[in-house]
């Protein structure tokens, strides 16, 4: 347990990138949107996807964290297993912390300062924020964790197989997507697929994402076990 905590200490040395930067980004987006809403007189309701910035950021952060810290950790005698578990713990902790903050901001937007007084829907969005506080937290948390771990996969592929691995990974993904699209178009699956998605609430989708998260974690660990610094 101590060893995993040590990895967390290592990760949190870079407080700026991990803590300040994501909120600076989403904060700037929020301020800009707020300003626009103000300019428009606050009469029209504005729905913006600016919140996605923090999720994209987390995806990117997940993808570069391995390259940045794995060689250092292994060079300082950290076991690969401890590195992975420590990074996973970081992902869970950050996702939970951000989810709580997002929940608070969502509740403030919805109930306390109705749409920030200018009709801005930034943190409390339809579909995404439907549900009780607990349900909202769950959706925000799972989405964030998924972004982080999804980013971890290409990061781990690169660490293990370098450039060749990246080509293979993106080639394979491209191939699978193309084949799936063609097949779906041919067999006319799109209707069924969209229909199914339409029936899912954000909370349902969050539950479906959990096995995906587990898959990403497993893939990342398997790759890192034999990766070199």
């Amino acid at each position: 347990m101590n060893r995993i905590a040590n990895v967390l200490v290592m990760h949190s040395r870079d407080k700026f990138s991990l803590f300040a930067l994501p909120w600076t980004i989403v904060g700037s987006s929020f301020v800009i949107n707020l300003f626009i809403a103000l300019l428009l007189g606050g009469k029209t309701a504005i729905y913006t996807g600016g919140l996605s910035s923090i999720y994209i950021f987390t995806l990117v952060a997940g993808s570069i964290i391995v390259g940045g810290t794995f060689p250092f950790a292994v060079g300082f005698g950290v076991r690969r297993r401890d590195y992975f578990l420590g990074t996973l713990t970081l992902a869970v902790a950050i996702s939970a912390a951000w989810a709580i903050l997002l929940l608070l901001l969502s509740l403030i937007e919805a109930d306390v300062i109705k749409n920030w007084g200018v009709g801005l829907h930034f943190f409390h969005l339809p579909y995404f924020s439907n549900g009780s506080a607990v349900e909202q937290f769950w959706v925000y948390f799972v989405a964030m964790l998924f972004m982080f771990l999804l980013g971890l996969v290409p990061g781990s592929v690169y660490q293990r197989y370098r450039r060749t691995g990246m080509y293979v990974l993106f080639g394979a993904v491209g191939l699978v997507v193309s084949v799936f699209s063609l097949v779906s178009a041919y067999w006319d699956w799109w209707g069924t697929i969209f229909g199914w998605f339409a029936r899912q609430t954000a909370i349902d989708l969050a539950w479906w994402t959990v096995p995906l998260i587990a898959l990403c974690a497993l893939a990342s660990y398997t790759l890192l076990r034999r990766a070199t610094a």
Binding site: V9, R13, S17, F76, G77, R79
Partner: protein, 301 residues
């Protein structure tokens, strides 16, 4: 004395390139070892396998009696200072030292800080902004302050000026004396470092060509100069390291078995004797082509 490191038939290949070829050696506890050889000889590869950063293709590696891979009992007693150590973006020198305290159980932070002062390493400077010499100094500080029972330095002096290098030797000896541990130093700068080394292992083209106590090795090699016929008959049946003709004369370097017999024989023949430094000896040993390496390795043992 128990063996801290046991390497048996270690091989590492990349495709059809063999970087390390059936290497076997042992490292005894508490001594300063030199792992010498030319660039690309395989020294770094061996050290990376010892510290579980690379994986062997075949062969056995035991450190502190166990396999190092994913083994915290072994890894916590190791410190590997390599010149290619990467640091996370944005890390400053004091971040690295702080993490040294986190990851190395025997870390002495006051000592690390005093070393940083001695090497004039600015604590607030980002690692990315350090010169090559300062980067090396940082590595050296981590290696010394870790007080790890097995500390490995891989070419730790890149970019260090002569004063800083001398400082390193001083501090290394001082701390080794006060806190005895096993140290492996790899270098191609043999001259300066050789007197720190108690035992030398020379690697050439992925093979061990020499594995001996340093002082036993000193003085075993010498050069004879004289008429071609005399020299050629003298070197018959001896370990020949080099032979250079100069007009009617021949200069040949031989490796004797340590006693004075060979020298006296040369003197009796009227040949001129010249000393050969350890550096020269190793240069001779490692300038051979691949086909001669195995022969040399067999002869010297």
């Amino acid at each position: 004395m128990s063996n801290i490191v046991e390497v048996r038939q270690l091989t590492k290949s990349y495709g059809n390139v063999t970087a390390v070829d059936q290497v076997s050696f042992s490292i005894e506890a508490g001594k300063i070892y030199g792992l010498l050889g030319r660039n690309g000889a395989g020294k770094t590869t061996i050290m990376q396998i010892l510290t579980a950063q690379l994986f062997a293709t075949s062969g056995e590696v035991k450190v502190f009696g166990e396999r190092p891979y994913e083994n915290s009992r072994v890894l916590s007693q190791l410190c590997f200072v390599k010149e290619s150590q990467r640091y996370p973006n944005g890390f400053r020198v004091n971040d690295v030292l702080a993490l040294g305290a986190v990851f190395f159980p025997n870390w002495d932070h006051d000592y690390a800080l005093s070393l940083a002062e001695a090497f004039r390493l600015p604590l607030k400077r980002r690692m990315k902004a350090l010169s090559r010499g300062m980067l090396s100094a940082a590595g050296i500080i981590v290696g010394l302050a870790s007080r790890a029972p097995l500390t490995i330095f891989d070419e730790p002096y890149l970019g260090l000026d002569a004063v800083a290098r001398s400082l390193f030797y001083d501090r290394l000896l001082e701390d080794y004396t006060e806190y005895p541990r096993t140290i492996i130093l790899s270098t191609h700068l043999i001259d300066e470092v050789s007197r720190l080394l108690e035992h030398i292992i020379v690697i050439d083209q992925g093979q061990v060509v020499l594995d001996e106590e340093t002082d036993t090795l000193r003085g075993r090699a010498f050069t004879v100069v004289g008429a071609a016929s005399k020299v050629d008959s003298y070197i018959e049946g001896k370990d020949l390291l080099s032979r250079e003709p100069l007009g009617g004369l021949v200069s040949a370097t031989v490796l004797s078995n340590g006693d004075d017999g060979s020298r006296q024989e040369a003197e009796a023949l009227g040949l001129e004797l010249a000393p050969v430094s350890l550096q020269q000896l190793i240069v001779h040993l490692t300038s051979e082509t691949a086909s001669n390496v195995a022969r040399k390795a067999a002869e010297v043992r």
